[in-house]
Symmetry: C2
Subunit: 82 residues, 2 copies
């Protein structure tokens, strides 16, 4: 298992409700890929969402995000944390 | 006070030691701008560092990062968190 930070662009105007709904959709099926989405942060003005997860691979993260309709634009393994 | 996610590019090969040293340098002077750097995540292969803070403004975050020699490439207010 490793930590990943993924980035979603083009989310201008995302609301707290929408962010929560997207996160809950991910949580509902994340177990299928042994992923856990820990937290997400959104800048609605710039339309960027950052999403921190623990997962077996980048591909596993993306499969969940794709199934819930919001594929990530970037997925970075982040082995260094301070 | 607000939450910010800042992004540093061109950090290919950053080590755990270097990330820690950069974070400690920020922590040592963050009080001058009423900023608190909470956590940082690095992808040494892609050379990207994500840094989460609480601060009075984007400019305050950048002033600390500039003084410690690693200005951010992007600083996003992230008012939505889940």
């Amino acid at each position: 298992m490793a930590k990943f930070m993924d980035v979603h662009q083009n989310m201008v105007g995302i609301t707290a409700e929408e962010l929560r709904a997207a996160h809950m959709a991910d949580l509902a099926i994340e177990g299928d890929e042994s992923v856990h989405f820990e937290q997400a942060w959104a800048d609605p003005e710039a339309g960027v969402v950052y999403c921190l997860s623990e997962a077996p691979s980048r591909e596993a993260v993306q499969r969940i995000h794709e199934r819930t309709g919001h594929p990530a634009d970037e997925i970075h393994p982040v082995p260094l944390i301070v």
